[in-house]
């Protein structure tokens, strides 16, 4: 076999290997890239809720602390709709160890109620409603 024939076989082999790799990826249903923002594997559930007054009216700009027992927490504020959102902690954090509290000048915290959802979808946040009472 002369060198031109050998070079031809080598080229063909390389093309065959590359094509098989592309075809297998196509058969598998994609090129193997996942959603950029899908980090649900690494994180636990996120935390969401409303802060309301005793009339049920939502309270914007209330301070909300979402704390992990003995480990500190995150402080945020409610938006114009009276809601807060905190992204998930690490998967090692048990949601039972996460406590929510709320505060606003002129109010005191009356109660905190965690809502139970029948779904086990990890994309559904843990909802906790905090009620403030005027002082």
């Amino acid at each position: 076999m002369n060198s031109a024939v050998r070079r031809g076989w080598r080229m063909a082999g390389a093309v065959l290997a590359m094509s098989c790799a592309v075809s297998l990826a196509a058969w598998a249903g994609g090129s193997g890239f996942g959603d950029d923002d899908d980090n649900g594997e690494e994180e636990g559930p996120s935390y969401f809720g409303f802060v309301r007054d005793t009339n049920g009216t939502t309270v914007p700009d209330a301070k909300v602390t979402v704390a992990v027992k003995n480990r500190g927490g995150i402080v945020t504020r409610t938006d114009l709709l009276g809601t807060y959102k905190v992204p998930g902690f690490g998967k090692e954090v048990d949601p039972k160890d996460v406590e929510v509290s709320c505060d606003k000048p002129g109010y005191k915290q009356l109660r905190v109620v965690r809502r139970s959802t029948p779904s086990t979808d990890p994309k559904i946040p843990i909802e906790t409603e905090c009620t403030l009472q005027r002082i």
Binding site: G8, M11, A12, V15, A26, G29, S46, D79, L81, T83
Partner: protein, 169 residues
């Protein structure tokens, strides 16, 4: 020369194989938008489509009716808008994990009630204030759901050239 011919033939064959493999999931009759011979699927519009179909035009028509002081039409559009919110809340009870009925309630319940009073009283100033509150509620909800770039405003022109908004004489 013979080597090049072999390589050329193999490259062509392998390329054809790869293209066929990549397209193997699609039948000859199927386009990227679906199979024309399939059974009709139930229409299941999601949040963006529902907002564009049921909420945004009704919000606009309510504003146009109120500013024309066409109170019967405003009352009708208010009822339609309320029903639109109810349909959206039932069709998509959770969106990106968030509770849609609760968000809708927090965003628009109060201004909708105030609009109802204003329409019944035929009181333009209260209507304008409540309508501004409703519009702010829409935008607050968009912000909560990370869609602050969808900004709703009081309509400054009609998008419905085939509808009269002035009261019928």
């Amino acid at each position: 020369m013979r080597g090049r011919a072999i390589a050329g033939t193999l490259v062509a064959a392998v390329t054809a194989f790869a293209v066929l493999a990549a397209l193997s999931g699609r039948t000859a009759a199927e386009s990227p938008f679906g199979d024309p011979n399939a059974e009709p699927a139930p229409f299941n519009p999601q949040m963006a489509a529902l907002m564009s179909m049921l909420i945004q035009p009704r919000h606009a028509k309510l504003g146009l009716a109120g500013s024309a002081e066409n109170w019967p039409l405003a009352a009708y559009m208010l009822k339609e808008l309320r029903q639109g919110f109810a349909v959206v809340s039932k069709a998509v009870p959770r969106w990106k994990g968030l509770p849609v009925p609760d968000l809708v309630d927090a965003a628009v319940s109060q201004p909708l009630t105030l609009l109802d009073f204003a329409i019944k009283l035929r009181y333009r100033r209260q209507f304008d204030e409540a309508y501004a509150g409703l519009t702010s509620g829409c935008n607050a909800c968009h912000a909560t759901t990370d869609h602050a770039f969808v900004v709703i405003k009081v309509p400054d022109a009609s998008a419905f050239p085939n509808q009269e908004f002035a009261p019928k004489q």
